[in-house]
Amino acid sequence: MHSFAYRLNTLLTFSLLLLAVLFGAASFLDAFNSPLSASSSHVQASAQVLKVNRFRRQLNGADEVSLTFNVSLDVQPLFTWNTKQVFVFLAAEYETPKNALNQISLWDHIILDKDQAKFQTKVTTKYPLIDQGSNLRGRKVDLILHWHVMPKTGRMIRDKLHLSDFHLPEAYT
């Protein structure tokens, strides 16, 4: 005969173990479905800067840019039975004398359904590109598409794809 506490302990441990196993299995199946190394090649995307809406130096001396893009993307291969949503965002990456890396999210979008995972759209920057200084004139900026796959349960998957680069104008608008 076992005590109540002993039984409770066993039950709790077992249910936790079961949950952990299910969690692991879901993550494992996800990895199997879209091998991380190949997932970038499955995603089709492109982005071009159509227009520089505003380019100015703020009163505190930081450069601020607002852009309009053409974005087209197809992330349908990322969707599996265990996918709750895919969070996609377009980020600008550049180097300045002060910082080795500046990463700034410009636009993001939540895709809940596979049917809506392929589209083309014209967007303006949701978050302005603001530098930590005035280093943006003539600066080369890389545009990178990131995605973050959030599962119904299990491990989250992140990856990215370099789309294009562009040079900011030499003068403020």
Binding site: N9, T13, S27, Q85, N99, D108, H148, T153, G154
Partner: protein, 180 residues
Amino acid sequence: MGWVADSLDSIRSCQIRHVLTQIVSLGMIVTSALIVWKGLTYVTGSESPVVVVLSGSMEPGFKRGDILFLQMNKDPIRVGEIVVFNVDGRDIPIVHRVIKVHERHNTGEIQILTKGDNNNDDDRVLYAYGQLWLEQHHIMGRAVGFLPYVGWVTIIMTEKPIFKYLLIGALGLLIITSKE
């Protein structure tokens, strides 16, 4: 009358053994829970490897009551990651997504800005007064895994303490009264 004293003694010693067993098994439960928690802390490198989502600011990705598994390692924080951070003067850690990263040249120091997916504005309103950026020491970990609903147990326990006391009381009563 010797046999009465004898049987009383035997009952007493039996009860002492029984009580001791109960104490030991209770100790086992507490210790195994501690082992699991500390083991997770060691493996993930984060001081609190599991957090419960308390607000809807990351919906529809994370809902209230979902559980997140955190990890903390040497890899630098990058844009798009979901981090858990502590703001000075706030008790409750926040789970939000990184939308800006600035990394210094030589020192590798980082300054990051976060935002909840479901919020309209970035988190500067949540930071300490006058604080513009989060730094490495604010970060408790990054979310790597996700388990829905399980966190409701702890939410109910913290927000309706009566359930906690009922549960502890019932458990204690059962432990005291249960027979081998």
